[in-house]
Structures are given as structure tokens and as C-alpha cells.
């Protein structure tokens, strides 16, 4: 099956920032992204867990975005404007996709 190299960016960020980040993604020209729930985690700001959160302020989400390599830099710049001042982690992986014209 014919595949093409692309990038998979995974962003873990606070739930209240989700809509801001996806707005930025929409504007940065990526063709899509997927939001996954997160149960809990640990980082510089300590350990947390989703269960029994009265407020959604403490929760996080993971956003996965697959995009063509040439779009990566523009996307990262856009994302960092939002992520910078917030709790969050960004990682980038090489991947292969089928139907490259979609990305």
C-alpha cells in the first residue's frame, strides 16, 4: 500500500484551553485533529486525577494532529502561542499515512 511520510503531533493541555487550541489549529491550516480524554497525569505541577473533579478546571485533554511535514513549523508556531503560558506537553513523531492528499 502506498504511504507517505507525515508528522504526528501530540499535545497534552488543560481542558479549559481546548477550544482556544483547536481554534488556533483551524487557523493554522491543518486539515484535522482528534481530541482524546485524559484520566490523570503527573508533571512539574504535580499529580492529578480526573475522577471526582467538581470543576473541569483541573482536567486535561490530549490532541493528536497528523499533518504534512511542510506544515509542521507553521503549526508549532501557532500552537506555542497558546501552549507557552499554560501547563502542557508537545511531542512530534514521524509517521506514514495513506491518502496523503487528505493532510
Amino acid at each position: 500500500m502506498h504511504t507517505t511520510r507525515a508528522k504526528r503531533v501530540e499535545i497534552i493541555i488543560e481542558a479549559p484551553m481546548e477550544s482556544r487550541l483547536t481554534n488556533v489549529l483551524d487557523r493554522s491550516g491543518v486539515t484535522g485533529y482528534t481530541v482524546l480524554p485524559v484520566l490523570g497525569g503527573s508533571g512539574q505541577s504535580g499529580r492529578w486525577t480526573r475522577e471526582g473533579q467538581v470543576s473541569s478546571a483541573g482536567g486535561m485533554v490530549a490532541i493528536v494532529c497528523i499533518l504534512r511535514t511542510e506544515r509542521l513549523d507553521a503549526m508549532l508556531d501557532a500552537v506555542f502561542d497558546v501552549v507557552e503560558r499554560h501547563i502542557g506537553v508537545v511531542s512530534i513523531t514521524d509517521c506514514d499515512v495513506v491518502r496523503a492528499e487528505r493532510f
Binding site: G52, V54, S55, A57, G59
Partner: protein
């Protein structure tokens, strides 16, 4: 004073408080007892739905008297101004940074609907009536404090150049005003007002009868969250902060008492406005602060609000405010 103690003792042994205490203890003991997130959210939607609806029905029964607008106004002023008081106190008594102090201050200007509900149920047990429209006042008091907090942070903080750009600022304002809990509370209030007693009869066995039981379950969850917060954020709880968390509600209640006297509320209404002013938000404001003041440390404001002030109001505060309201009003 005698009454305060009796009231407080009665209050302490009510299922509501005991389930809250159970939650705190379970969390401190690291039990794995948890309420699923979806259930906690649904319980909180139920409480907003029921309390808004019943408030609306009660207004439809007693009619809209002139005090409604005055009370709304009083609530708005209280919510706008209390963060300034809180900010000043925090800067004097604690070493919090400007941003952290502004964020905490925002929480104390806004309100906790569960504390309000607890006060309502104390009134019920004591057979004291209150103005139904205070539910609407509660809703209106949620938001203004957030704006004050942001203004304080922008005014007194040097480090944040232009934290939120214009587009986001507008979005933020819309988010604050159209916050889910405000919309549901106001919406249910209006529906209760429109459908009146007829509407209440239809859904009474959903919004009235099981209410207290649901509240017990919700308070169990709040206890669990508060306990977890206390455990993981104990290091932030310096004496100055604890002192603020216990003093500020009393100051807020005093301001609420003043407002209630000016408006001329009943004893029950006075207690409720005092309680609203004394209570600190832990749902709407934290979410707004994560977006608008991300530099502020969430552990501090959540622990203050949920771990110190909420249990204080629930156990000591409400009985205290009630005896003051009675002394002044009776």
C-alpha cells in the same frame, strides 16, 4: 450565642455535613472511593436545575416585588467589589504574588451554589421563609468577580504584557457570561417562573423529594475532592492563607448583611445574601482563571476555596450568619 452553638451542633450532625466529612476522611486516608466524573457533573447539573426551578416557582407565587431589582443590584455590586477587599487582605497578610492574589480574590467575590443550597436547607429545617429570587441573585453574582480579578491582575501585575489578545478577550467574556452553570440556573429559574405551581406539581417528585439525598451524595464527592486537595496541597497552606480563608467569609458575610439591610430583605433572605457573599467559587471561577490567568497556581485557589472556606461556611459560618441575621432582623 447559645442559639449559635445549638444551631451549629444540629448542623454538624446533619447527613449533609456528615457525608462531606466522610468524603474528606476517605480522601485523607487514601481510600480509592471515587464518584465518576460524569456522575459528579450530572449531580451538579441536577442541583442547578432543581434549585433554579424551585426559585422561579417561588417568585411566580409571591410575585415580583420591587426588591428584586434592588437585590440584583446589591449582588452585582458585592460580586464586583469583594475581590478588591480580598486582594487587599491577601497582599497584607500573605506573601502571594499579584497574580495568585488576584485569582484567589476572584473566587471570593463569586459564589458557591452548594453553600447557598446548604443555607437554604438550614432555613427549611428552622422553618424560616426567604425570597425565592435570591436564586437569580446567586446566578448574577457568579460572573462580575471574575472581571474584577482580571482587572486587578492587569492593573497591578508587571510581568504580563498583554495576556489575552482582543479576539480571546471577547471570547472570554462570552464564555464567562454563558457559562453552563449560569445558563442552567437562570434558564431553570425562568422556566419555573413561567410554569409556576402547575409546573412544580408535574416535576415535584424529581426536583423536590430526592433533592436532599442527591445533595448528600454530591457533598460526599465534594468532600473527596476537598480531602484530595488538602492532601496534595498541604504545602501551600501557610498560616496567613488559612487565616484569610477563615476571615474572608466573615468579612464577605458582613458586606452581604449590609447589602441585605439596604435592600430590606427578610431574615431568611439576609442569611442567603450573607452566605452568597461569604462563599467562594470552585466551579466557574477556577475554569475561567485557567484560561485567563494561567500563571496563577490552581492548587492555591482550589484548596483555599474548597478545602478551607467551603467547610468553614458549611459548619460554622452558616449557623453564625443565621444568628446574626436573626439578631439584626428580628
Amino acid at each position: 450565642m447559645d442559639t449559635v452553638l445549638t444551631l451549629a451542633a444540629d448542623n454538624l450532625l446533619s447527613p449533609l455535613i456528615l457525608f462531606f466529612a466522610l468524603g474528606v476522611l476517605a480522601a485523607l486516608a487514601r481510600s480509592d472511593l471515587t464518584i465518576p466524573e460524569a456522575a459528579a457533573k450530572t449531580l451538579s447539573l441536577y442541583l442547578l436545575f432543581a434549585i433554579g426551578f424551585k426559585g422561579g416557582v417561588s417568585v411566580s407565587g409571591h410575585g415580583v416585588d420591587g426588591d428584586l431589582v434592588a437585590s440584583m443590584l446589591a449582588g452585582t455590586v458585592l460580586s464586583f467589589s469583594l475581590p478588591f477587599v480580598a486582594f487587599a487582605m491577601l497582599r497584607v497578610t500573605t506573601g502571594l504574588s499579584v497574580v495568585d492574589a488576584a485569582a484567589v480574590a476572584g473566587h471570593y467575590g463569586s459564589i458557591s451554589i452548594v453553600t447557598f443550597v446548604a443555607a437554604t436547607s438550614v432555613l427549611e429545617s428552622a422553618g424560616i421563609a426567604s425570597e425565592g429570587y435570591l436564586v437569580a441573585v446567586a446566578a448574577i453574582m457568579e460572573a462580575p468577580a471574575i472581571l474584577s480579578a482580571l482587572w486587578i491582575a492587569a492593573r497591578f501585575s508587571a510581568d504580563t504584557g498583554n495576556p489575552v489578545d482582543a479576539r480571546d478577550r471577547q471570547g472570554l467574556l462570552r464564555e464567562i457570561l454563558l457559562n453552563g452553570s449560569i445558563v442552567l440556573l437562570i434558564g431553570s429559574f425562568l422556566i419555573g417562573y413561567i410554569t409556576g405551581e402547575d409546573g412544580l406539581v408535574e416535576i415535584e417528585s424529581f426536583v423536590v423529594s430526592p433533592f436532599k439525598g442527591v445533595l448528600c451524595l454530591f457533598l460526599l464527592d465534594m468532600g473527596l475532592v476537598a480531602g484530595r486537595g488538602l492532601r496534595s496541597s498541604a504545602k501551600h497552606l501557610r498560616p496567613g492563607l488559612i487565616g484569610f480563608g477563615l476571615l474572608m467569609p466573615v468579612v464577605g458575610a458582613g458586606a452581604g448583611l449590609l447589602g441585605a439591610s439596604l435592600v430590606g430583605l427578610s431574615v431568611g433572605g439576609t442569611l442567603l445574601l450573607m452566605t452568597l457573599s461569604a462563599s467562594a467559587s470552585y466551579i466557574a471561577v477556577p475554569a475561567a482563571m485557567r484560561v485567563a490567568l494561567p500563571e496563577a497556581n490552581p492548587s492555591i485557589y482550589l484548596t483555599m476555596s474548597l478545602g478551607i472556606t467551603f467547610p468553614f461556611n458549611l459548619t460554622v459560618g452558616i449557623p453564625l450568619y443565621l444568628s446574626v441575621a436573626r439578631a439584626v432582623g428580628g
